[in-house]
Structure formats: C-alpha cells, structure tokens
Symmetry: C2
Subunit: 351 residues, 2 copies
DNA sequence: CTGAAAGCGCTTACAG
DNA sequence: CTGAAAGCGCTTACAG
C-alpha cells in the first residue's frame, strides 16, 4: 500500500510551508496567513499533481473536536418495533446532524446487560463532542452527574433537572387544545382518567387540563387516578353514571382500553360518550383510526435537540436551553356533541 | 467546560509513563510493554478517579483501534418510513455490536447532498475499525476502492465484487421453495414476470426459478420481462390466455399490482390463478395479507454481518467472507390448486 | 508577506 | 522491567 500523500509532501513540492498549504487548501482568505496568488497557484497545482486529500482524522484531532454527536438511549437505539414512538426523534437527529456536518455515535454497548452512561465509572459519552439523550427509563442520578461534569448534552423530553438543557413537546398546550375542542362541542363534564405516575409530563397534562377547563368557563375538574385495568373500567363507568359526557386520558393504549370497556357496555363513541387522547398515536391498532388527540412533533424535536446542542458547543458557558415545541390538535372522530343534547341545541362545528 | 482528561493526566496521577497507561488501558498483556501488577492497578485506579475516556480520534490517528463499528448506507440510516425494508438490518447490527462491545458510528454527513464514502476524496469510514454497509443504491466504484485499500467491511446483500465480503439472503433457495410449493399444488405452467434489472439478486431469483422448475419435473421456463406497468398488465393477461395457471414476481409491490389487474379483469386469487412473491413483505398495504413468498432473515443478516466483520478485524489477512442465509418459505393464501383441476384430481395439501 | 514550531492525544518502536 | 521520544497528519498561534 502506497504511503498516503500528506500536507508536508504538498508543501515540499510547492516549495512552501505546511501552514500555507493548510490555509490554501482550506480556502482561507489570505487574512491571518498571507500568501501571494502565485504561491496559492503553486500549492493547488502541487496538490492536484500529488492527488492530495486531507486526512479527516488528523483534521479533527488538530481541531480539538471529534465532530461526533452522541446518541444515547436507555433502550435499544433502533427500536425493535419499527413503528416505535421514538423513531421520529432519530430521523430528526440524523437530519440535523448531517446538515451540521457531524457524524452520529450510537452508544450501544452495555454494562452487564444494562445501558449506562458511566461505564466502569467513566462517562462513555466523552467519545463525542456532545450528546442527545432520550427515553423514558432515564437514570436521573446519571443525568445530574452529567450536568455537574458540564458535559454538553440535550435531553429530548421535559425533565426538570437543574442546569440541564432539554427540548420538549408542549403537552400542557396540547391538552388545553384538546379540552377546548371537547368543550366547543358542548361538553360540561369532562373527566380526566389519569395514570398514577407523577413525572413532569403528567404534571404538564394536568396543568393543561385545568387551564383548559378554566378557559372553557370554569368547568369543574374531575380527575380520577387509575392504577390498574380494573380501576379503569370501574372509574370510567362510574364517571358516566355521574353525568360525565367526555373522557380524556394519556396515550392511545388506555384510550383503546376505554373503547373496549365502552363497547362491552354497549356504548358507542362518540354517540354515547366522547373520548380524546393526550398524545399518543392518531391511528392505533387497538384504538382504530380517528382518536382525537394532540400530536407530538417528534421529528422536529430531534432536529431542535441537535440545533440546541450545537449552540451549547459553540458557547459552553451559556445558560441551559429549554425549548417547548407546540403540540397541535389532531381532530379525529371520537369527539362529538354530548348524548343529552338535542340537535337544535348543538353548537356549530368548532372552527 | 472541564478540559478532557488525557492519557498524560492518568500517567501523572499513576506516577508512570504514557506508554504504560496506553498498554494497560488497552488491555495489552504485559508482553511487549512490561509492567507490574501493582503499576497496572495504580493505572486503573487513576483512570477511574479521573474518569478517563480515550479520544477515538487520537487513537485512530496514532494507528490504534476505536471500538467503533461504522454503519454506512447510501440513503438515510434511520428510514423515514418506520416500516422500512432496511430497519431489521439495523436492529441486528445494533444487537451484535453491543454484544461484541462495539459502539456504532453512523456516517450521516453528506457531500453536496449526496452520501458518499470518499468525501472530498478521503475515505470517511476510517474513523471506525470497520464498517457494515448496505442499501440498494451503492456505488460499486467506491466499494471496489474500499477493497483495494483493504478497509475491513461487510456488505449486507449479494454483491459480486472481487475480494469483498458480504452477507446475503438465499434468494435462489427461497425462489426454489416457492416454485416447489406452487408445483406441489399441481401447477404445470408457472410464469415468472420479472423486472428488467440484471443485478445479482435478479440472477439469483432466475436461477432459483429454473432450478425449481427442474426439480418439479422439468417444467417449461416461462420468463417474461416487464418494464412498465402497462407491460405488466398485458403480460399477465397474455400469460393466462396461454394457459399459465400460476405467476411469480419480485416484491410485494408488483404482486399487488398483479392482484389489482386480476381483480379488474374479474379474476380471483387463488381460485382463478395462483400468485407468489419472491421476497417482499408478507403483509403489504397494497397486496393485503397472505401473499405466499419467501422471507428474508434481515435481523439475522445484520447480526451475521457484524460477526463477519469481527472476524475480518481479528484476522485482516483472511479470505473474504461470503455468507448466504436461508430464506424460508412463507405460506400465504394466494396459492391454490389450478383452476382447471377438479377436486378429485387435486393433490393433497403439500407438507 | 512567509516559515519554523508547538500542539491535538494517542501508539509504538526503541533505548536504558 | 520501565520511560523518554518520535510519529500519526493536521491547525494555529507566533516569530521573523
């Protein structure tokens, strides 16, 4: 294998120094490093004759940057289920990384079967200039440590960790819009059947729910915690008996369960009750098509996370970046006028 | 931002030299570079305390390994369509990389919008110890050059390039099995409506088709090239008029078209004609469920590609590795007995 | 206006 | 048994 042509070879041939060759080849204006147009031409022709190609690795080493962006997830990066929730984040990250001239480093190694950032004590993300992290199984202690060490990273998803940058979806706003949509159909008793965890996104949804009710004319909050499937069936039917005409819940899985429970009880949706999701797929194998919900701009969140990371890299001293992207309403077919309302009383279709 | 911890820092702390730290950290047996177990322990504890992580760029420039496996595709790595054909390759690659203790390096950067291995003339894959490549839009000149440069890589897919390693699906065997299945139902005139390209996989399918006919008792080959959709309709109907009772074709897209053409002509499948795919999805939005075809073990191919690559890395001088993984028959509902055959004449269900 | 030198963070002969 | 030194191929102050 022939030895590769280096910068030094070109400099020799052109009868000048490596500095000048570097400047010329990199198309630097003759500002910091000055050279005559004659020199420049000699350099170019020498480079061409020798077939010089800069070694990207050496470039990166000298530049002090790896031009590598890390991607860390607590589960597999490539979802086994191709229809995975996280997939669009990745397409966004890839698109933005490519346009910013970074390659992507996927941390796939695991420590005794478990993915962890601090493998054997050291921050494995250090291989990259910075990283984008996501996933719902995060280890908050690790994230905190990452912040302490001032490693540049952006989380995709709302996480209130001091000093940490994140890009989130506006679940509160999305929920508000869903409640607004339901109220616009004339519903007055809108119940929120919520799961039991108390993470940031749960709080965001609850806030959006309360805000939505207030905006709809100070409707009464009807929040029911449902921990088990059995809870869910009981809670749902009890709410209807109490006069609730519309129900919202997180995710399309639970929305699907509610539909089944309703169907088992001989109830049609939206004729007998209205139903909406707070995020989750619009189409779901279980739910069927047409669940009214809000969309999470996942691809855009991936792009925004990389952009934020690049800003962090450009200005290491800066404040954490916290972005919240709009989650637009997705009108489906599961919200209609309340059952009790005669056709004449129905408000017009909301715009 | 804290300066990154370097080898020199660890050496200082451990009270030894960089050479020793390098050897210890890389797990070199105390052969070439000798050190006491005491020194080794001091190095490890210093590395742990400092959180040392080697810079892959520097490692690579100095001629070492990075424990990074490259993934290069000519399209985006993360398919925009989550149901993408290539997705299972990636899950296999990730799984195998993790188990072999490699991280994955995704080459996402592009040169003027086009993905290319030789960006600006230099092999951009160099940063990784080796790479897995795939995609149908490959640039064969680049692949040849990669072989010439002795860069370790494995292609996923059958490509006859001298000296190149690949992991392929056994399309010939899969096609043979499909033909066998059709023949077992009693068909004697089985036509192959094939697309026009002449790449390796097309040749493999044709070979499998011919072998299958021979095995079924020297049936007559009936190969029709179809370049356009219009060709397809004409060819399909013409074949049926000539007495053909079963048709095979590549991919589920074309199979779907054939079904539509058949339906437009009032023909039912499999009552009026039998149809089978030669690979392609079992379920397809267009084709509907139940296309008889053969499966491509994509996840397994991804795993096998990484395994092969690791063997290449372990023994750089070795012969290229060429693996062909079985493509099992997938029985659907589109193959039945020929229309002309009375129930009494029908052979038993094939085992 | 131009070149010699240091440095990026590693690895690997080589000298003691 | 161990360490000082050269080298990988660049970039970028800095000195002339």
């Amino acid at each position: 294998v022939a030895r590769r042509v280096t910068l030094a070879d070109v400099a020799d041939r052109a009868g000048t120094s490596k500095s000048v060759v570097s400047a010329v080849v990199n198309g630097r204006a003759p500002g910091v490093i000055r050279f005559s147009t004659d020199t420049r031409d000699r350099v170019w022709s020498a480079a061409r004759q020798l077939g010089y190609v800069a070694n990207p690795i050496a470039r990166r080493l000298a530049g002090g940057r790896t031009q590598l962006l890390g991607v860390f997830t607590y589960l597999t990066v490539f979802p086994l289920d191709a229809d995975d929730f996280y997939h669009p984040f990745l397409t966004g990250v890839e698109e933005a990384a490519a346009s910013r001239d970074f390659d992507l480093l996927l941390f796939t190694r695991s420590d005794a079967g478990r993915r962890t950032i601090y493998r054997g004590g050291a921050n494995s993300l250090q291989l990259a200039d910075g990283a984008v992290l996501f996933g719902s199984d995060e280890d908050r202690a690790e994230l905190t440590r990452l912040v302490t060490e001032q490693y540049p990273f952006v989380y995709i998803g709302h996480r209130d960790i001091a000093g940490m940058s994140y890009v989130a979806g506006d679940y509160a706003g999305g929920t508000r819009a869903v409640i607004g949509e339901i109220a616009a159909h004339g519903h007055r008793k809108i119940s929120y059947l919520r799961g039991s965890h108390d993470l940031e996104i749960a709080a965001d949804r609850e806030q959006g729910y309360l805000d939505g009710l207030r905006a709809a004319g100070d409707l009464e909050p009807l929040i029911r915690r449902v921990d088990t499937d059995r809870d869910l069936a009981a809670a749902f039917l009890a709410e209807l008996r109490r006069g609730v005409t519309a129900v919202v819940t997180e995710g399309s899985e639970r929305a699907g369960q509610i539909r089944r429970i309703g169907a088992d009880a001989g109830l049609r949706c939206p004729e007998d009750y209205s139903l909406a999701g707070l995020s989750g797929r619009v189409y779901d194998p279980d739910t069927g098509p047409g669940l009214t919900t809000f969309a999470i701009p996942r691809h855009e969140m991936g792009v925004a996370a990389v952009d934020a990371l690049c800003e962090l890299l450009a200005d290491p001293g800066r404040e954490p970046i916290r972005l919240t992207l709009p989650c637009p309403l997705r009108r489906g077919t599961t919200v209609g006028p309340p059952a009790g309302l005669g056709a004449s009383e129905r408000p017009g279709t909301p715009t």
